[in-house]
Every structure is written in C-alpha cells, then in structure tokens.
C-alpha cells in the first residue's frame, strides 16, 4: 500500500473480479478477497479478519461492507465507491439479463416445471442457515426465547422485523450497560 497509489480503475476491476466469482453470498467471498488482496499487497492477511468481523456486524450486505472497508483503506472515500461499484456490477448485469429472460419465459412450461421443483427446496435452504445461526447465537434459554418470539411475531402476527430489531437493540444495549455499571 505504501508508495505507489492504487488507481481507482484498478480497484474497480479487482472488486468486479471478486464479485463475479462469488457464488452464494458474502461468506464465499472471503477466501477470494483474501487471495486478491494479499497477492497485491493491498491488505495483509492478519488485517483481514478484523475487516471481516466489522463488516459482519455492521448492517447491510456483508460483501458491500467489505468492499467499502477495503476500498477506503486503499484510496479513501473514492476508493470505497470504486470498490463497491466494482463488486456490485457483475451481479447487476447478470441478474438483469436473467430477470429479462425470466419475465419472457416465466410461463414457459419447462421453466414452470423446473421452478415447481425448486421452490420447496429453496425453503429448506433458508431454514438451514437459520438453524445453524440459532444454534451458534442462542447460548442460553432466554436467547432461544428471543429467537422464538421474533419468529412468531413476524410470521404469525405480521409485526415488521424493523420494530423487532430496534426493540432488541435498545433492550440489549440497556441490559449490557446496566450490567456493567452494577458490576463495578
């Protein structure tokens, strides 16, 4: 990173490459980012875990967060814009092409039959990461309670997830804060 300035176009191109080869979400992106960054000496291997951890805990799409973070390290705000646009562009182009294709072929009997098979499968593919996440995050009975309550409120009482998240943030923050105060 020292000395020679990395050009914005180069940042865009490298992140476009990363975006194009990431299949299946942000986590699949990490090893690819690592290879690209350390090969160019842009971000060292021991810095990356911190960046990943922060990108995970910040709201938004993780891949975008990583790009903003890494781009900023390279060239400031302009770098973060170049990196983000780069990592998003391949998705954008591919999905647009597919969306146009499917809007024309959605009623095609072959496509319809294939999607009849795909739809139930997708539901399981959403349920599995949920279970894995719950097992890792729910370290006590009341955390299971939070998870169950959020599920029931959203799925059966049509409560907006935004309200639930806001309540949990306020509650979690206050409990942690007062816990720390009393312990002192």
């Amino acid at each position: 990173m020292e000395g020679k300035k990395v050009s914005l176009l180069q940042i865009f191109a490298v992140f476009a490459k990363i975006g194009a080869f990431t299949i299946g979400g942000g986590y699949a992106m990490i090893p690819i980012i690592q290879r690209e960054m350390s090969r160019r000496g842009w971000i060292s291997d021991d810095e990356l875990p911190d960046i990943v951890a922060l990108s995970q805990s910040a709201p938004g799409v993780m891949a975008v967060n990583i790009s903003i973070f890494a781009g900023y390290r390279l060239r400031g705000v302009a770098g973060s814009i170049a990196a983000t646009l780069g990592s998003v562009t391949p998705s954008f182009v591919i999905i647009l092409a597919l969306a146009m294709f499917f809007s024309a072929f959605r009623d095609n009997p072959w496509v319809e039959r294939a999607f009849k098979g795909i739809r139930p499968v997708v539901i399981s593919l959403i349920a599995v990461p949920m279970i894995n996440m719950a097992r890792k995050a729910c370290t006590s009975w009341w955390k299971w309670l939070i998870a169950a309550a959020s599920l029931l409120l959203v799925a059966f009482l049509n409560v907006s997830p935004i309200y639930i998240l806001l309540c949990v943030i306020v509650l979690g923050f206050s409990v942690t804060y007062f816990n720390q105060k009393w312990k002192r």
């Binding site: 922060l54 995970q56 993780m62 975008v64 983000t84 499917f102 739809r119």
Partner: protein, 200 residues
C-alpha cells in the same frame, strides 16, 4: 407521476432494508419479504421464492442479486416497460448500499474504539438470536400465511410453493442434504430443478 411515487417507495424500502440487515443475505431476505411481499404486495410469494433461488445460483452476493431482481420485477410489472425495470433495479441496488456507506465509513473513523467495546458485543449477543428468528420467519411465510379475523387466526398453505405431496418430499430431501449432508446450495437447487422437470 405514479411511477415516480413507486420509484421513491422502492428507494425508501431498500434504504430501510439496507439499514436494518444484520447478519448477511439471509437476514436481508426476511426484511425484504415482509416489505415487498407482505406490506406492499408488489410481488407474490412464488415470485419471491423464484428470486431467492436465482439469487443463490448466480454469482455475486445474495442481497445484491435479490435487490436487483426485485427492483426490476416491481417496475417491470407496474409499467410493462423493460427500461423502467432496469431503472428500478438500479434504484433498489443503490438505495440498499447507501446506509452501509455511512455506517461503515463511520466505523472506520472509530475503528479502535469500536473494536473492543464490550457494550457492542453485549448488544450483538441479543441481536443475533433475533436475526435467526427473523430468518426462520422468512422460511415460515413461504409455507403458510396467517390471516386474523379479530383474535381468530386462519392458516392457509402457500399453494404456489407447494403444488402437491411431492413438494413436501422435495423440501424434506433438500433439508437432509443441506443440513446433514452439507451439500452445496447451488447443487441442491439444480437437483430441485431436475426433479421438477422429471416429476411434473
């Protein structure tokens, strides 16, 4: 005029989704679904399920893929014009990323302070179970919908996603393959498509 209102609504919706997505693409799906399918009724459950499938299979982060696709679908359905769909997907994707910009750049400034904050860790400890619950809700909403008449709930199966009994077998098989078999999600979707062609 109506189209402009729709675009603004779309932008605001995706801005909110971007600001409240904690924990990756799947967490985003539940937010997106409650906004786009349940609250605004812009697209149907089955169309949403298809979008999730396509987003998982194609390169790029799931969240961005889904936003691009939903943005296209909403504007294309409403106007019937392809270029409006393109505009919609651009607006949705940019609006989704906008909150991240402010938040991540703020974090960069307070990097060290933020890093060892036990207050932050404590709050995240509460947030993560809630996010898991929200993802669960996304899966449940694609299976059953609940309508309330006063205090009496009535449950209805989402027929578009469950054509017949074979759908349940596919769901079960996919769960076993993905949870215990740790089979790659893309492979599971491809298998679903092939079985769909064979069975229906």
């Amino acid at each position: 005029m109506e189209t402009l209102t729709l675009l603004l609504q779309l932008a605001w919706t995706f801005f909110l989704v971007g600001a409240f997505t904690f924990g990756g693409g799947y967490a985003m799906l539940s937010l997106l679904q409650t906004q786009v399918v349940v609250a605004h009724e812009w697209i149907s459950e089955s169309a949403f399920t298809d979008i999730v499938a396509v987003s998982q299979m194609t390169p790029g982060p799931i969240g961005i893929n889904a936003a691009t696709y939903v943005g296209y679908s909403v504007l294309h359905e409403a106007t019937g014009l392809q270029w409006m769909g393109v505009l919609g997907s651009g607006v949705a994707t940019l609006a989704l990323m906008l909150p991240s910009f402010f938040i991540v750049l703020a974090i960069v400034k307070f990097y060290t302070k933020f890093k060892d904050s036990s207050l932050f860790d404590g709050t995240m400890g509460w947030l993560r179970p809630a996010v898991a619950g929200l993802i669960g809700a996304a899966a449940v909403i694609l299976v059953v919908r609940v309508a309330w008449a006063g205090c009496v709930p009535s449950f209805s199966l989402v027929r578009e996603n469950f054509a017949d009994w074979k759908s349940w077998c596919l769901l079960g098989a996919a769960f076993v393959a993905s949870y215990w078999g740790k089979v790659n999600p893309i492979l599971v979707i491809v298998a679903g498509a092939v079985l769909g062609l064979l069975l229906y």
